[in-house]
Symmetry: C2
Subunit: 405 residues, 2 copies
C-alpha cells in the first residue's frame, strides 16, 4: 500500500487569493455598473520588450530548421545566458560570481521550492512575518515546519521574524539558533529594502553559526537608491553562506514567459558537501533546462536596446509606485515601500483590520487590494498595493481611495 | 548549522554519458580523418513542425502587445491545452480522463522527479532493470532507495524487475510487497511494449495491493500496432491506481522547447487523500506553469496540419528504427524494439560485454551507441541505438556495423 507524505495533510487551505476573488466577484455581481481597479495581484501588465520578442522570433525560426534546431540544452542553462548574467548582474557590481555558479530555470518559485531538496528535514527555518507563502508551504511539505496552529496562524517549528512599522520592517536576527534563513529584499509584501550594513549583519551571523541564507532578490530591478545592494553577493562573506534567487518575471515582464536563475557559490559547503554540486545534481536529475526560445529572449534583456526598453518599463511601474505611495501618505496613511519596490504596504487607518479595510476599499472606492493578514499574523493591520497596473487606472485608484479616507 | 540531505552523498557518480563522451573524444582526437555517426543519445534532430512554429510566432506577437500580453498563467496549464489533451489523447481512445486531471508542465523529467514529493519516505519502490536513471536517482535523493552497493550496481531498498531476452523484456510482478511501481512503455532503453493483458495484470495487482503505478508513456507516439495501448488509462481500473507521464519531447521534437503533462485521476486516493489534490497543491506551490508561447506551440500539435506534420516526423524516425532493427537482425544480432519505439536494444555478439562492444563499434565502425550496462546490471550484454538521427547517416551506420560483424 502506497503511503502519502502526511505533511501535505497539515497544510491549511490556501485561502488568500481565492477569498479575494470570491469577495470581488460577489461585489461585482451586485454592482455591475461599477468599474473595479485591481491593484491586488503581483502580476505585470506591460508587454515584453521589442528586443526580447525579436530574439524569441529569431529563436523560433532557428527551431524550424534542421541546422538551427536545438534539442536538449544544458540543464544549467546555455552558456550565452549564464555568462552575460555573471558579467552584468554580478561582476559589474563587484560581486565575484562565475557562470558555473548560475543555474537558469523556469522560475524563482520553482527554485525557492525545490532548494529544500538539498537540506535535511531537521533544519530550523526562519522566515519573515509577513512572508511570501512559498517559503513556508514548501518547508511544511518537507516536514520542517512542524504543525500548524490555526488560532495563531503559525507553524510550531518555524521561527518567525516580525517585520512591522515598529522595527522599520527590518527583521531582527533571531535570538535562538536557526539553520536556514529566508530573506527577501526588496521585500514582498512590505516593499522594504535592506541596507548594506543590515545585510552584512546577516552574512556575519550566518558565517558565525553555519546557517544558510536563502536570499530572494526577485525585485532588485526596482532599486533606484545607489546605496542599496541588489545582491547578497555584494556583501563580504556571502559566498560561504548564501544562495540567491533571481527572476526575469518582474525585471522584464516574464511572469508568463518563465525564466529565472539561482546562484549557488562554489564556496558554500555544509557537512563537507558543496551545495553548488548538490544543486547541479538536483537540477540534472529533476529538470531539463529552460526552453531555448525563452533563454534567447532572456539574453536579449542584456543588449543595449533590451536594457533601455526594460528600464523604461521599470520606470513606468516605479512611477505608479510613487503615485500610490505619495497619494496614500498624503492622505494620512503610514506607508512602506514604493520607492525601491513595486509594492506599497500601507497601514490601515485607525487600527482597522486588514479584511475590513480591504472590504471598505472594494465597496467604497471600487479598488481591489490584498489584505496584509493573508501574508502572516504580523501583516494584520496592513494592506498591499502593487504598482503593476496601468498608469491612468493607478492614478484614479489613488484618487478614489483619497476621497473615502 | 545547516545540515544537508545526506542521501545526495550516497549517489554514485553519473558516469554513463560522460564516459561515452570521454571515449568518443579520445577516439576522435586520435583519428581526426574518420567521420563518426552518433546513434547513442536519445535526443531528436528534426525541426519543429511548421504548425508549431507558426503558433509560437503568433504567441510571441501577442506577448508584444498590451492587449495580447499573458502574465502568470494557471499553474496547471491553460484550458485550451488541457482540454485538447483530454479529448484527443484520452477520450478519443476510450480513456475517461477530464481536463482537471491533466497538469501541463515543463517536462516529464521534472514531473517524474517531483512526483516523489507526494509519497512517504518509507514506500518500497519497484523499478525495471535496465531503467531510465531518473526514477532511481530521484528516489535515492528522497531516501527511499537505501544504500548503493557499488559491486552489485544496485540500491538495497529498491526492488529490481529484470527485463531481459529470457522474459521478452517484460518485467514480472514482484514476489514481495511493493508500494510504488515505475513502468515505462514503449520502454527506454529496451524499446519493448506492453500488451493490454500485461497492463491489465499490473493494474489488477496495484488495485489489489494499494500500490501506485507511475506510468511513463513518453514514447507512445511511436506505437504503430493498433493492439498496443498508448495509455495506462485505456486499462480498466487504472483510475484508482495509476499516474501517467506524457511528453511532447519525442512526439513533436520538444526536447529543447519543454512541454509535457502528467495525468493524476481524481479516483486515485491513498490514506484518505486525493493524489490529484496533492499534486495540484504541489504544482501551485512549487511551479508557476509552462510558458504561454510554449503551450500555444503544444496546442498546435493537435491541429489537422500539426497532426499530419508530426505524423511525418514520427514516420521518418520509425523508418530509421526499421533500418536499424532489420539491419542488425539480418546480421545475426538479437534485437528488441524498433517497431513501436525509437529505441533498438541489441544483444552483443558472443556474450561480449556492453562496453567492449561499444568500443568495437566506435573503433571499427565509427558508430557511437550506448552500452546497456549503463542502464543497470541487467543491461549488461546489450547496447542501445536510437532512431533519432538522419536517415542517410542511420543507413550508413547500419551498413558499417554489418561489415564488421
Amino acid at each position: 500500500m502506497a503511503t502519502i507524505n502526511q505533511n501535505y495533510q497539515k497544510l491549511p487551505g490556501s485561502y488568500l487569493f481565492s477569498e479575494i476573488a470570491r469577495r470581488v466577484a460577489a461585489y461585482a455581481q451586485a454592482h455591475p455598473d461599477q468599474r473595479l481597479i485591481r491593484l491586488g495581484i503581483g502580476d505585470v501588465t506591460r508587454p515584453l520588450a521589442p528586443a526580447v520578442t525579436r530574439a524569441m522570433h529569431q529563436a523560433v525560426d532557428e527551431m524550424a530548421t534542421a541546422e538551427g534546431f536545438h534539442g536538449y540544452g544544458p540543464e544549467q542553462g546555455y552558456a550565452f545566458l549564464r555568462e552575460v548574467i555573471a558579467r552584468e548582474d554580478y561582476q559589474a557590481r563587484g560581486a565575484d560570481i562565475s557562470p558555473e555558479e548560475i543555474f537558469v530555470s523556469d522560475g524563482a518559485k520553482s527554485d525557492c521550492g525545490n532548494i529544500g531538496d538539498l537540506f535535511d528535514r531537521d533544519n530550523v527555518v526562519a522566515v519573515c512575518d509577513p512572508v511570501y507563502p512559498v517559503y513556508v508551504d514548501t518547508n511544511a511539505m518537507a516536514g520542517r515546519a512542524g504543525d500548524y496552529d490555526e488560532g495563531l496562524g503559525r507553524w510550531n517549528r518555524l521561527v518567525y521574524m516580525p517585520c512591522v512599522a515598529e522595527n522599520g520592517f527590518s527583521p531582527a536576527i533571531p535570538d535562538r539558533p536557526v539553520d536556514l534563513i529566508y530573506l527577501c529584499f526588496p521585500n514582498n509584501p512590505t516593499g522594504a529594502v535592506a541596507t548594506r550594513a543590515q545585510l552584512q549583519a546577516w552574512v556575519d551571523h550566518a558565517n558565525r553559526t553555519g546557517a544558510v541564507i536563502l536570499y530572494d532578490s526577485a525585485y532588485e530591478a526596482f532599486i533606484t537608491d545607489p546605496a542599496i545592494p541588489h545582491s547578497i553577493f555584494e556583501i563580504e562573506g556571502a559566498r560561504t553562506c548564501a544562495i540567491e534567487f533571481r527572476s526575469f518575471s518582474k525585471t522584464a515582464g516574464f511572469t508568463g514567459t518563465r525564466c529565472a536563475y539561482t546562484v549557488v557559490p562554489k564556496d558554500l559547503v555544509r557537512g563537507g558537501a558543496s551545495l553548488n554540486a548538490m544543486w547541479n545534481r538536483r537540477q540534472c536529475t529533476k529538470f531539463n533546462g529552460a526552453p531555448y526560445v525563452v533563454q534567447r529572449g532572456a539574453a536579449a534583456i542584456y543588449t543595449p536596446e533590451g536594457r533601455e526598453q526594460t528600464r523604461q518599463t521599470i520606470a513606468y511601474y516605479l512611477n505608479n509606485a510613487r503615485v500610490i505611495r505619495e497619494g496614500l501618505a498624503g492622505a494620512g496613511l503610514t506607508v512602506c515601500g514604493g520607492e525601491n519596490s513595486p509594492y506599497i504596504w500601507a497601514r490601515t487607518p485607525e487600527g482597522m483590520g486588514s479584511w475590513a479595510f480591504f472590504d471598505r476599499l472594494l465597496q467604497q472606492a471600487n479598488v481591489v487590494t490584498t489584505p496584509g493578514a493573508g501574508f502572516g499574523p504580523s501583516g494584520e493591520g496592513y494592506i498591499r498595493l502593487t504598482a503593476f497596473g496601468g498608469a491612468t487606472d493607478t492614478a484614479e485608484a489613488v484618487e478614489r481611495i483619497r476621497r473615502i479616507l
